[in-house]
Each structure stands twice: as structure tokens, then as C-alpha cells.
Amino acid sequence: MSKKKENLLKGFYDVSPLLLPVVPFGIIFGAIGIELGFGPYITYATSIIIFSGASQIVFFQLLSNGASSIIAITSSSVVSTRHLLYGAVVAQYLSKLSLMWKIFLSYLLTDQAFAVSQEFFKKNSNDEYKHYHLLGAGLTLWIVWQLTTVIGILLGSIVPEELGLSFTIPLTFLALLINYFRKIDHLIVIFLSGLSSILFYNAPLKSYIILSCVISLFIIFLINKFQKKI
């Protein structure tokens, strides 16, 4: 098997366990779009054009609550700002790629694809075709997100709410952090970010995610700097 195909499939395998919350979330999103009165075309278009579950939900919820388009666009964009950090991490490994690759892979840079591919990049930084891992993980998520949005639009909320599957979203992100549980510096960042997100949850324009990132990264930067001095 060629190295390209091998990395592509590895991306698919690595991201598969993370599909557990994506499937019900996609269906629920499709159903919510219809319930809130956005109609099948707009609802589906957001899955292609915005392609980010959290931003899509924020966008729809604000508009349906009567917020202006500007507020809805701004808030969904603020939720997306975390991608700037993801991009900064993977940029270290993708710098040699052509512009076309960068343009295409950026579209596929979701939370889950970032999580598994940055791990792969760290371990295989000398692999010439390592970007195929992100392609495999990203395409897998894209296809599943498109299909499940359509299922939700056509069939409504077929996922029983009693199962509480929305809880699988935090569980998946928690599982993605298990490699850091043994590292004290990472634990400090995790705790600081988590605490900030609760404290600033009601901050304007859904800015609590990026606020928590900036606060926790800044404090660990100070700690690292201070440690070097002693």
C-alpha cells in the first residue's frame, strides 16, 4: 500500500471513535434547523458553507431568538476563532505544501480532525505525505456531517432525547485529552481553561471559548518563563 493511502486510511481510523457524538449531533442539527423554521435548503447550506457544528447552532439560535444578522454572524465567528490556534499548530507541519493543498485542507480543519492529525503530525513530522492523514480524517467528518444533516432534515429528531447523547460531546473532547492527564503543566492549562469557561460563560458574543484559551495559554507562558529564571 502506498504511503499516501496508508496515511489517508490512518486518518479515517483515528477519527472514527470521535464520530460517536458527530452522528447524533448532525441529525439533531438538521432537525433543529427545520424546527426553527429555516427550511431544508438554508439548513443544509450551513453544513456545507459554514461546516462547523458549534458555529451553525449558535448562528441559528441567535437568528431565531430575534438577534440581528450582524450579531449572529459575529457570534458564530467568535466561536470559530479557536481555529486560528488550530491553524497555528498544524501550520508548523504543512508549510511546505502548495497553496491549493492549504486552501483545501483548511476547509477540513475541524476540532476532531485537528485533534487526531496534530498527534499524528507530532509523531511523523518527517513523513512527506503526513498531510494525507488530515485529508482522511477531515473528509470522513465532512461526509458524516453532510449525511447526518440530511437525515435530520428529512426524518426529524430520530435520536431519542432520553439517551442524553449530547453528553458524548464533552466526553469525546475529554477523551482527546487523556494523553495529557499525566503532565502537570498540561493539567494546569486544562484546569485554568475549564475554570475560565465557567466564569466567563455569559461573556458577550459567545467569546468564552477564545477567552479561556487566551487566559490559560498566557498563564502557562508566564509560568514557563518564571521557571526558566529559577
Binding site: P17, L20, F38, I42, I49, I50, F51, S55, F59, S69, I73, S76, S77, S80, R82, L84, L85, Y86, G87, A88, V89, V90, A91, Q92, Y93, L94, S95, I103, Y107, L109, D111, A115, G164, F167, P170, L171, F173, L174, A175, L176, L177, I178, Y180, F181, H186, V189, I190, F191, S193, G194, S197, I198, Y201, Y208, I209, C213, S216, L217, F221, N224
Partner: protein, 104 residues
């Protein structure tokens, strides 16, 4: 019609947040300490998604200590710590959460 324009604008901005750093950051210009800080990005972003989903309920107030989500969360941490396996962590958290909501 305006809704279509809003969707497209939101989509373009969202895409630019993904493309921006990949296009503009030159790795050779990043200092060692900047690279070190970027290594913390997953630990800085994911908790901001995890904590509100576990510790806040629908009315944005802190949940009770015996909330099923708290129990699922801590079981997942313990199993994650021991097993170092993504699938077992998710499954353990979900099953313990289901046990609490369906059996008690």
C-alpha cells in the same frame, strides 16, 4: 434573501479563521517558546468545550454534585487515566452516565 447573505458571510469568516494561520504562519519564524505554547493548544481549547457542557445545566447554573454528568465525567477521567484509550474513555463515561439516569 438576507439569510443567504448572512450564511455566506458567516461561512467566509469561519473559513478564514481556519485558513488564516495556515497561510500566514511561517514555522521557521516561530520562536522555540511560541512552539512550546502552541503545544498546549488542545489543553487550552477542549476544556472550554467540556466544562460548560458538564458543569452547567440548561439555565446556565452550576449542576448538583450528584448530577449524572458529573459522575460520567469522573468515571471517564479515571478510565482514561488508567487505559490511555480514547474509545474506552468515551464508552465508560457514557455507560456510567446511562446507569445513573436509567437505574436510579
Amino acid at each position: 434573501m438576507t439569510i443567504w447573505i448572512s450564511v455566506v458571510i458567516a461561512g467566509i469568516i469561519n473559513y478564514l479563521t481556519r485558513l488564516g494561520s495556515i497561510l500566514l504562519i511561517k514555522p521557521e519564524r516561530l520562536s522555540e517558546s511560541a512552539k512550546k505554547i502552541l503545544g498546549y493548544v488542545p489543553s487550552a481549547v477542549f476544556p472550554a468545550i467540556i466544562f460548560p457542557a458538564v458543569f452547567l445545566n440548561e439555565t446556565n447554573t452550576i449542576v448538583q454534585i450528584n448530577d449524572p454528568k458529573i459522575i460520567g465525567f469522573f468515571v471517564a477521567i479515571v478510565i482514561g487515566y488508567i487505559s490511555k484509550n480514547i474509545i474506552s474513555t468515551i464508552i465508560a463515561g457514557l455507560i456510567s452516565y446511562w446507569i445513573v439516569i436509567f437505574l436510579f
